[in-house]
Symmetry: C2
């Protein structure tokens, strides 16, 4: 990434560059000064948008996690599909997104694994958002009579927990196993069947 | 543990002492010489039963994992209960056993977490045995008409994967959460419902 100080210094540009710097130097060494240098600006300019190194790391973590959420939200709010199909599609999209993040750029994934451990508040909010999306799909299915669930938020959480092997980064090493897709399908269909009316 | 060289030197005594030594010195430092010293015997006597340090560590890991299996086997082979009740009881007994191991003696649990990473063959055989027990319960349910499952081994594996949060030691830190029992019950009932005829 070459310095391009003529472009306006937006938070998004700072975050993109922060990701580059993290990838290059690793999470232990990357500093705000490195980010400013890569952008060709003073570190004061970066601090104007992100008041501390911690705030910058939190924001870059949030942005990375947020990338998955948009596609999942599309599935969750699709009016044409039935709830059971949406659940399957949503779980598959989540697994695909995580698998690609881990497989396409393993160094960046390892970097974010460190950042996730630092920013537990951001992670919790992200997980709550995902469980909330699941809850909306399940509530729709209950409404339409395709699903039968006594406690929707508890069921949403249970679906998320039961599929953890396919989205929790702790399991990333298993996602390249030749049997993982079959195992994912077995868990998904078990879980969706467990919710059916 | 005081030396008691008069007692016969059985593999079981060596393994018990090895566990003590591992707990005291940690897995990085514990040696066969430490084990022999604690038993009041020469290290040659220990090597007569376990030909290498690796073999001794493997055997102690196997013994530790095996402690859970007996109770679970009792549940799996109980002729009086229906398959759905047995499944719930089995999953609860597994979670209880793991939770107790982690909570009652956290240092020993941490020690075994290191050993588990070293002895992946032993761990795999242990997991295969657990999944096989689940498969027997599920097959019984299919036979009796209480469960409806197209592929029993795949379903057994799916049940095991879906409940990983409640037995995989990676999650041990979450097992003291005040909501964990409720979350366990939600996942268990979802999974058992997913197998029902």
């Amino acid at each position: 990434m070459s310095p391009a100080a003529a472009e306006p210094l937006t938070p998004e540009r700072i975050l993109e560059t922060t990701e580059e710097v993290l990838r290059r130097y690793g999470p232990a060494k990357a500093t705000v000064v490195d980010v400013a240098r890569a952008l060709g600006v003073s570190h004061g300019s970066v601090y104007r948008h992100f008041p501390s190194k911690a705030a910058l790391r939190e924001a870059v973590t949030e942005r990375w996690l947020g990338k998955t959420v948009g596609r999942l939200e599309e599935i969750a709010s699709d009016g044409a599909e039935s709830a059971p199909s949406k659940l399957e599609a949503w779980l598959e999209a989540l697994f695909d997104a995580k698998r690609h993040k881990a497989g396409d750029d393993p160094e960046l994934f390892a970097t974010y694994t460190v950042l996730l451990a630092e920013n537990s508040g951001v992670v919790e909010a992200h997980l709550a958002e995902l469980v909330e999306q699941l809850g909306r799909i399940i509530a729709e299915g209950v409404e339409a009579g395709t699903l039968d669930v006594p406690d929707v938020p508890a069921a949403a959480r249970a679906v998320f927990d039961a599929t953890g092997r396919f989205h929790d980064p702790q399991y990333a090493a298993e996602w390249t196993s030749p049997t993982i897709s079959r195992e994912f399908e077995a868990v998904t269909s078990l879980v969706v069947r467990g919710l059916r009316a």
